[in-house]
Symmetry: C2
Subunit: 222 residues, 2 copies
DNA sequence: CGTGATAGAATTATCTATAATTTGCGATGG
DNA sequence: CCATCGCAAATTATAGATAATTCTATCACG
């Protein structure tokens, strides 16, 4: 997470901008002007351009040739598209990873679940949730697949932050526990099915918090 | 397909380099040196750097932070990873596209199938095969998903060209016809299943041509 | 008087040219 | 024979020049 000295300037800039887009500090449709960003970072505009390209590859920005680059707009349809893609790819990853899951990994995943239930803000929850998914999927040893899933997680996080910027109450993670239980019993396909449905719920249906208040028509799942 | 005037220089360079990587003219692991490429195109190295980044986003090249960029190595494991990802994502796309498929589209897809069976070289076959898949999947109207599938197709094509550079004989497309038949009868799930298996076969098992000679241990499917 | 088009100016993206680090390799000395 | 220093090549960053687009203001025409 720390900005390593070995990273190129473009990479560091793109990370900062990505955070801003995900957190909502930069709103959808906002123009990213290279000179301004360059001035802010005390850099030249060439590394800024490369940072923009990285954002575009992640799907966080879109650039029209010679007309500049804007923060990618994302509506409910986009959210659902990302959810469906995550469901398809995470199911594949879990299926491949399952044979390599050890007891230790499952225990760590359980820790992550507990952490996400204790999270007091969206950022903490997102991090714990991400850790859970990554722990279970990483052993598939398919780097391209994992990279694609990471980008989709970023897009999902963006949606999360837009829905709950201030008030936040952690949900109880039934699905996570069910997935872990199935994996512990060696029922891979059951776990895969739960995971797929779990992820697909993003942006699908309303959810009521523990206090009984109904939130926006979005689901808090990851 | 023509180089449009509106495209940026970096985009045009990346297209040319992508073709070379896919066709095998640039071998896996080969170093891409920005000065040399810049000299070849009579350009400076900044647009070349941006072209490299695009290639990296497509998975055709990998760059190590201050050590240059190389053509992505791809072994059989990588090919299978791409095949699995394509199967998962194309299945999703077809499922979403099915309700919007018209008679006209299916007819065009059948034309594409015939064209691929008549193809006299790998390039022609690849193009026809790509057209078939794109026709059936595009109506899902999920731009991010389609872009991801396109990149995976490029990686697949790369593998195809590496296996059959010179001699080539078009296979008969049983799977394509079975998919079309199922779709015409409204049996979406059956079509999805065939498509998924069809794509997964890439890099999986040997194939014998019409002349009876056994090719390398790869399958010609797409 | 209002609407539309056009020319010019300002802004912005793109490209070139040049300078500054950094890596890798080779030679030299211990 | 190994380690360290130094040189060469390549990547990364900066600054300046070029080209394209957008905005604005003026003028013609209805």
């Amino acid at each position: 997470m720390a900005k390593e000295k070995t990273d190129t300037l473009a990479i560091r800039i793109s990370r900062v901008l990505a955070e801003r887009i995900i957190s909502g500090a930069l709103e959808p449709g906002a123009r990213l002007r290279q000179d301004h960003v360059a001035a802010e970072f005390g850099a030249s505009h060439v590394p800024v351009r490369e940072a923009f390209q990285r954002l575009e590859a992640q799907g966080l920005a879109i650039s029209e040739p010679r007309r500049g680059v804007r923060v990618a707009a994302f509506d409910l349809r986009e959210v659902r598209e990302v959810a469906e893609m995550r469901a398809a790819l995470e199911a594949l990853a879990l299926r491949q990873a399952a044979p390599h899951l050890t007891r230790a990994i499952l225990d760590q995943a359980e820790d992550a679940t507990r952490a996400s239930e204790k999270a007091r803000d969206v950022g903490a929850w997102e991090e714990a949730n991400r850790r859970f998914h990554r722990l279970l999927l990483a052993p598939c040893a398919m780097p391209r697949l994992l990279a694609a899933i990471d980008d989709l997680h970023a897009a999902s996080a963006r949606f999360l932050f837009s829905a709950w910027r201030a008030e936040w109450e952690a949900p109880t993670e039934h699905d996570h526990r069910a997935i872990l239980a199935a994996l512990r019993e060696g029922q891979t396909e059951a776990a895969v099915t739960i995971l797929a449905r779990h992820v697909q719920r993003i942006g699908r249906r309303p959810v009521t918090s523990a206090t009984g208040t109904t939130r926006e028509a979005f689901a808090i799942v990851g």
